[in-house]
């Protein structure tokens, strides 16, 4: 202890410099962790988190028995798996194309345009969906009417949302990921390509045998991060595009929207906290498991 105090005295200024971040993280990250005991309580606002009466596991029981837990978990997992697959496929494809095409100006323009949606908030993406798919005024139904077809009620159709959510996730995120993969490709030695070309490999063989293997570390890193968050949905995407529409919960309700809704609309704060804690614990377990697996296969790629 004495040594610690001596060290603090010696490094007083460094400690002071660290304090703002330390305190902030303590308040906004560590206090809520302690507050997570709310999941085991029957919350009463006037009593606060720590004085509310205990409720054991009843919040969890309610959440799981209602069938909500299964539905939102499956949705969260399935959407994330599809997002990861589709987005990474597009990102790698576009990065390879951008690195091999010769049209300099064309590449500059397309790369800029693809990156633009990343800068737009989900609120605006929501307006875009409204503009296209609103039943009365949307472009989509406008075109259908002009062709003499029946208008489609996209907003209230679960299957449409399954497609649209995947589409807009790609729309917003692919430009960003493409840049990451592109920078990885730029890091590959040019000599390798030249050597392969001299050996008679055609363009597809060069991509298949040089580029793709070189992208593996980047891919593994991004997949690791994505898989670690597989229980965490993109709240903005689901909330701003779909809104709150009970008709399509089967297709659009994820853990994050469920927790948010339970917190805002129902008086069942305890259950909302239980659902949230369930999500955090699942996330935590996933990260540990994935990291362990990666470590045993190839320790360089592990997160920690």
């Amino acid at each position: 202890m004495k040594a610690v105090i001596k060290e603090i005295k010696k490094k007083k200024i460094l400690f002071l410099m660290l304090m703002p971040a330390f305190i902030h993280v303590f308040i906004f990250s560590y206090l809520p962790m302690a507050g997570a005991i709310l999941a085991f309580k029957r919350f009463q606002y006037n009593l606060g988190i720590f004085k509310s009466p205990w409720a054991g596991f009843s919040n969890f029981r309610f959440f799981f028995i209602s069938g909500d837990a299964f539905r939102v978990t499956v949705n969260t997992l399935m959407y994330n798996l599809i997002f990861i697959t589709v987005n990474n496929f597009l990102e790698i494809s576009f990065a390879i194309i951008l690195s091999e095409l010769s049209g300099r100006i064309f590449k500059k323009i397309t790369q800029s345009v693809m990156f633009l949606p990343y800068f737009i908030s989900w609120v605006i993406a929501g307006v875009i969906v409204y503009n296209f798919f609103n039943y009365e005024f949307g472009v989509f139904n406008g075109i259908r009417r002009a062709l003499g077809l029946e208008p489609v009620d996209v907003y209230n159709s679960a299957n449409w949302w399954r497609v649209l959510l995947v589409f807009f996730s790609a729309w917003k995120n692919v430009g960003y990921g493409t840049i990451i993969y592109l920078s990885a490709i730029m890091g590959i030695e040019q000599e390798m390509f030249d050597a392969a070309e001299i050996d008679g490999a055609n363009l597809y063989q060069r991509i298949r045998h040089i580029m793709l293997p070189s992208l593996v570390p980047t891919m593994v890193m991004l997949l690791l991060l994505a898989v670690s968050n597989i229980f965490r949905g993109d709240f903005g995407l689901f909330y701003q595009l779909v809104g709150t529409n009970p008709l399509v919960y089967d297709a659009t309700d994820i853990i994050d929207t469920y927790v948010f809704r339970s917190l805002m609309t129902s008086s069942d704060i305890g259950m909302a906290a239980a659902a949230g804690l369930y999500q955090s614990v699942m996330c935590f377990i996933t990260i540990l498991v994935v990291n362990k697996i990666v470590k045993s296969v190839h320790s360089d790629y592990a997160l920690f």
């Binding site: 460094l14 605006i124 009417r145």
Partner: protein, 296 residues
């Protein structure tokens, strides 16, 4: 790339490549075009035929109508700008200071503190206790600091800055030590100027996050005077009535408000600054992503 012979593989690859990139680019840019068209099309046309792909009946009624609530929009701009500037400045400064301390090899508790910060990326208490903490114990409801504080510290950014600091040789600061400068002075006068690239990109990302934030507004803000831009737009899109009230407040009587075109016009006003700045800042974002990716 190097000299390419126009062999069959290159030709076919080019065809596929150009088609794919063009398609995706159109998909990315078309919505913005649609918003512009929607904002300058007459309400009469939209009500009859829906939004159109090409400008048909040109009209500026939506913008004229928005002018009735110019005060509200300007205020939202003001709040958003204030939150973005203050949040970015303090956020980046606090993150950079922490990153510097964690980077110092002679700081004995480096590992403990690094883990202290890192652990928060692995586990969180969830939204509900966090929200109750903010509302009940920190009194975030309808406060300006409720929009700034939550996003102030980012462990992820801290790690990126720390990674960059590793590339600065220790020798740079040694002479300053011998002259008796303290750690804070060294950080301000030597370290910060040397880490301009990473500080600039982190600042841009932080600023973008603040500018685009609607989540904290949705959780904590009921007072219209504290609306940020994105949230202002969200409220307006969500209610056809929101517009009418705004006009009413301004004492304007309008028999048929151009609701649909105004939604698009308002969106355009909200995206405006981003689109305008985008060409200038894009390359710094690209650089920032590359730094972050190498770090990861």
């Amino acid at each position: 790339m190097s000299r390419r012979k126009k062999t069959l593989d290159v030709i076919s690859f080019n065809i596929i490549g150009y088609v794919m990139l063009t398609l995706f680019s159109v998909v990315c840019i078309l919505p913005f075009w649609m918003i512009i068209v929607g904002s300058i099309t007459s309400e009469r046309y939209i009500t009859a035929h829906g939004y159109s792909l090409i400008p048909v009946e040109f009209s500026t009624e939506s913008f004229r109508y928005i002018m009735n609530d110019a005060k509200g929009i300007l205020r939202a701009y003001g709040v958003t700008t204030l939150v973005t500037v203050v949040g970015t400045f303090f956020g980046v400064f606090i993150n950079a200071m922490a990153a510097y301390v964690l980077h110092r090899k002679d700081f004995k508790f480096r590992n403990f503190f690094s883990f202290y910060f890192f652990f928060t990326t692995l586990f969180s208490g969830g939204l509900v206790p966090w929200y109750i903490l903010c509302v009940k114990y920190l009194h975030f409801k309808d406060k300006l600091y409720a929009l700034i504080l939550p996003g102030l510290v980012s462990v992820w950014n801290m790690l990126i800055i720390k990674g960059f600091l590793g590339s600065i040789p220790d020798a740079v600061t040694e002479s300053a030590y011998i002259d008796g400068a303290n750690d804070f002075r060294i950080f301000i006068q030597i370290i910060l100027p040397l880490s301009t690239p990473v500080i600039a990109t982190i600042s841009l990302f932080t600023a973008l996050n603040y500018w685009n934030d609607w989540y904290n507004s949705m959780l904590f803000i009921n007072n219209e005077k504290l609306y940020m831009l994105q949230f202002y737009l969200y409220k307006l899109i969500g209610s056809a009535q929101g517009l009418l009230i705004a006009a009413d407040k301004a004492g304007v009587v309008i028999d048929r408000p151009p609701i649909q075109s105004t939604k698009m016009a308002m969106t355009l006003i909200v995206i405006g600054p981003i689109i305008f700045l985008y060409p200038f800042v894009q390359k710094y974002f690209v650089k920032g992503i590359t730094i972050g990716a190498v770090k990861g």
